[in-house]
């Protein structure tokens, strides 16, 4: 074959093989194979058909919250006279992982914030609950959200219910999806101010500002100088022509069928690695871990800033120690448990905040099964039902209904309703 012809053949067959690989999706095949080999829980236990209501839920789960807030702003401006309550936390708030014995339902599954809303609406309690949850949310992100909400009068909360969770104290950072919120100049300047504060988590805000500035530059747009003074060369910002060309190429490529599949496949690739970690190294989601001083300090300072911001804006802040699976406690040692408890109690007492402790509220039988064992964070249908009931009975969100005698009727028979009471 002539060199020119064979070279073209190489290029063409490379593209063909690539298309074949995308079609076969080898990472999905690997996941299925590993799950089969190691007897993972069936996929259907993770409920896919969930109740969706953009007026009561941030539906992007932190990946692109601005449109959700625009929608909420319109909705709440029509319901300005009611009390606006945000429930802020991790995926426990929006995922349903069916517990053993729970059948799959044909109806969209509701989570406890949905059930709370349903209850308060049914009893005309003049309370609107909004679920502001994201997977592995960090307290820096919760502070990020709150800073945004107080910048917009129609979004400003009356009550901010913050879920506390041992696992969350191990996370840090601001996810990329939330960076678009910085396009709001008032918010950006507030974040810039926070980034310049000498707080332990300030560096993360600075990093987020810098990242957004580079993102905007790479989209070929003009950047504002709102990102603090992070040391950088300005290379990304200067490459205007190159960035514009790249943006145009990407938008053209995204029109090719299945091309955008690549982002989904990254999740699958990570799923393969995750399963390898769980099945081969036995490092599971339930493997107990210790808190590090670094993450503890960052998270504590972020929660304290949330408390200060709430006080400044006269927002009621409520802390809720989230349920944990009794058969999959994440504390590595008793010292870890007491460190966590002491931390959250000391934050609550320092700032005079109510702390509801629901850590053992959901019995072991109501929790889901994840890959090869009990899930430490997500519960099933009964769990959500029970959580809603407990929150209503404990008057976490509203104290007005108890006196009127309104009670929550469970949808499914709970196995246990004991709670440790509020603190």
């Amino acid at each position: 074959m002539k060199p020119a012809l064979s070279s073209l053949w190489i290029l063409a067959s490379t593209l063909l093989f690539l298309a074949l690989l995308v079609t076969i999706d080898p990472f999905q095949q690997a996941i299925q194979l590993l799950d089969k080999m190691y007897g993972a829980a069936p996929e259907w236990t993770l409920v896919g058909k969930l109740y969706v209501d953009p007026e009561t839920q941030e539906t992007s789960h932190g990946e692109n919250p601005v449109p959700s807030f625009q929608r909420l702003s319109e909705y709440w401006s029509r319901h300005a006279a009611v009390r606006h309550v945000y429930l802020v936390g991790n995926s426990q708030m929006y995922m349903v992982l069916l517990a053993p014995g729970e059948p799959l339902s044909d109806n969209p599954e509701k989570t406890y914030p949905d059930l709370l809303n349903e209850f308060y609406r049914a009893h005309d309690s003049r309370v609107e609950v909004y679920r502001l949850a994201a997977p592995n949310i960090t307290y820096m992100e919760a502070l990020w959200y709150l800073t945004y909400l107080v910048q917009h009068r129609e979004l400003e909360p009356n009550t901010f219910v913050l879920q506390l969770n041992y696992e969350t104290f191990r996370k840090t950072g601001i996810r990329d999806g939330m960076l678009t919120m910085l396009d709001d100049p008032n918010f950006a300047s507030m974040i810039d101010k926070l980034a310049r504060n000498d707080r332990p988590h300030s560096g993360l805000f600075l990093m987020a500002l810098q990242k957004r500035r580079e993102q905007i530059a790479k989209l070929g747009k003009t950047t504002r100088n709102d990102g603090g003074e992070a040391a950088h060369t300005g290379i990304a910002e200067s490459a205007r022509i190159g960035n514009q060309i790249e943006t145009d190429f990407r938008s053209q490529l995204d029109r090719i069928p299945r091309f955008s599949q690549r982002l989904y496949m990254k999740g699958e690739f990570e799923g393969v690695l995750y399963r390898a970690r769980v099945f081969l190294l036995h490092i599971k989601p339930t493997t107990p871990r210790s808190l590090s001083e670094a993450t503890l300090t960052l998270n504590r300072s972020a929660i304290e800033d949330i408390a200060n911001l709430c006080r400044e804006h006269k927002i009621e802040l409520i802390l809720v120690n989230a349920p944990q699976n009794p058969s999959a406690l994440l504390y590595r040692t008793a010292a870890d448990h007491s460190l966590y408890e002491n931390t959250i109690r000391s934050i609550a007492s320092l700032h005079g905040l109510p702390l509801y402790d629901f850590e053992s509220a959901i019995p072991a039988s109501d929790w889901g099964v994840w890959i090869d064992g009990p899930d430490p964070i997500h519960f099933g249908r009964r769990g959500h039902d029970l959580m809603a009931k407990i929150m209503i009975e404990q008057e976490v969100v509203s104290k007005e209904l108890q006196a009127s005698g309104a009670t929550y009727t469970t949808r499914v028979a709970p196995t246990l309703s004991a709670v440790s009471g509020n603190d």
């Binding site: 060199p3 190489i10 690989l21 840090t172 560096g203 300005g234 190159g242 190429f249």
Partner: protein, 478 residues
């Protein structure tokens, strides 16, 4: 335009096809035009900088040849102008800030500051190439001067932004573009480009987020010993894969045009000693520093071991400063200089009673381990924001040990996985070479027309899956 951007990869195909379809005489002009356009996609205004450096270098070089008695003066004029441009863009703020601080400490005055100017892309690299050109002309290693040759040598797009740092005498003869087109040109080029894409997106970028968080001053202050060692190793892996990826893509892009650029990396973390590390890490910078800085300095002060040791530390401090205008980079250079001195002293012991010890097998393994530890430790000041942070992190690595993990368990696992890959990398490369040769002998066509496209497709899939537009090459800032 970055090498791992879609636009570069998609425009490279027609650019290469056009190159080979032009007659030989047009190719030089075509490559020069494409190189300038490539640089202009970053900032059209700054195109004048490499061209200005070419003009200055050429005028000084021609004056050297035309006026031999004053050749030395012309060489230094050229070098000073090039270094002045480099200093203006890269070190202006650093110098002003430090002088201002020192004067303030002496109670003279404070508050001098300079406006921020974007660092022109690749200036550190093409400045060094211009200097080497001037020195080579002065030393008569280059006889025939041609302005277009010089422009192509400096601006040739595959090495313009971040090297490899090429010698004029190895690149200019190739810039006649007289090679005939063969399939092997495409295969060799694609081999390097696809591997570079995987190195960048899969290996280097996977670690970037955790490293950014772990090196935040307030996080770093509280990191445990384990965290800091992992961060040092992880950053060593990140920068290796990031820069090796860039070099592979540069070498691959040049190979598509039939040009061979020198190698930049040769499994550096397998080095047995600190000098060997520098023979395997950023090899083109090492040889530039050796030929144009270390040898001339050392030749002047030959004979005294102390002069040698001081020159080693001084030269490496300058290498550190070349990487970035910050004391952390200088400390990194000084540390590496000290490692080289330490090894020289150890070698000097060979002629003493300790001689047998220095040649023992166990000692060589101990040096190998020590080299890894020393190299990893030096990455801390290179990456940390300031000297104070470096000191805090390094102290926690060696004094007052503390355990536990501050970052996600996945960070430690991914670092170990990538580290394990680096450990077997030379053996994999040898295996691949063996397979290549075996296939070439018996199934040459199947290898080129079927096996390789399948491998490229796998590499491209990983590149696409781990595509992250928000990262750039670390060495772009140097």
């Amino acid at each position: 335009m970055q090498f791992n951007s879609y636009s570069y990869l998609l425009l490279l195909v027609p650019a290469v096809i056009l190159f080979w379809s032009f007659p030989h005489s047009w190719r030089r002009w075509y490559v020069l035009a494409v190189s300038i356009l490539f640089y202009a996609t970053w900032n059209p205004l700054f195109v004048f900088l490499p061209i200005g450096i070419c003009v200055t270098t050429f005028l000084c070089a021609r004056s050297m040849q035309g006026d031999p008695p004053r050749a030395r003066r012309w060489m230094w004029t050229g070098i000073v102008i090039v270094l002045a441009a480099l200093s203006f863009f890269k070190y202006r703020g650093f110098i002003t800030h430090n002088v201002s601080e020192w004067l303030a400490a002496l109670g003279v005055f404070r508050g001098v500051s300079v406006g921020a100017i974007v660092l022109p892309l690749g200036i550190s690299f093409y400045s060094f190439e211009a200097i080497s050109y001037l020195v080579d002309v002065r030393q008569k290693r280059l006889q025939k001067l041609d302005f277009i040759d010089l422009c192509l040598f400096i601006c040739f797009w595959p090495h313009l932004i971040a090297g490899p740092i090429v010698r004029a005498r190895e690149l200019i003869p190739q810039l006649k573009f007289s090679v005939e087109f063969e399939t092997s040109v495409v295969v060799r080029g694609l081999d390097r480009i696809v591997w570079g894409l995987v190195q960048k997106n899969l290996f280097a970028n996977s670690l970037a987020g955790w490293i950014d968080t772990g090196f935040l001053p307030d996080v770093a202050r509280l990191n445990t010993t384990v965290d800091n060692w992992f961060l040092a190793v992880a950053f060593g892996l990140q920068i290796y894969f990031d820069f090796a990826a860039y070099s592979n893509m540069a070498i691959g892009s040049a190979q598509l045009l039939g040009i061979r650029l020198p190698e930049n990396f040769s499994f550096p973390y397998h080095a047995m000693t600190p000098p060997e590390f520098w023979a395997k890490w950023h090899m083109t910078l090492s040889r530039w520093v050796r030929d144009y800085l270390f040898f001339p300095i050392n030749a002047r002060y030959a004979g005294s071991p102390w002069a040698l040791y001081l020159s080693l530390i001084g030269v490496m401090a300058l290498v550190g400063l070349w990487h970035g205008a910050g004391w952390g980079f200088v400390l990194w250079g000084i540390m590496h200089g000290s490692y080289l001195v330490l090894y020289r002293i150890w070698e000097a012991l060979r002629s003493t009673r300790l001689g047998p010890l220095t040649t023992s097998r166990y000692t060589s393994w101990a040096w190998r381990a020590l080299t890894l530890v020393m190299v990893a430790t030096a990455w801390i000041p290179f990456r940390a924001g300031n000297l104070h942070q470096s000191a805090v992190m390094m102290k926690s690595m060696f004094v007052g040990l503390s355990f536990g993990n501050s970052l996600s368990v996945n960070f430690y696992l991914v670092t170990l996985m990538i580290g394990a890959f680096v450990a077997v990398e030379p053996y994999l490369a040898r295996g691949r070479q063996w397979l290549d040769e075996a296939l070439a002998k018996r199934f040459a066509n199947v290898n080129v027309l079927l096996f390789r496209p399948a491998i490229y497709a796998c590499g491209l899939l990983l590149f696409l899956v781990f595509d992250d537009r928000n990262t750039q090459f670390i060495y772009f800032q140097f």
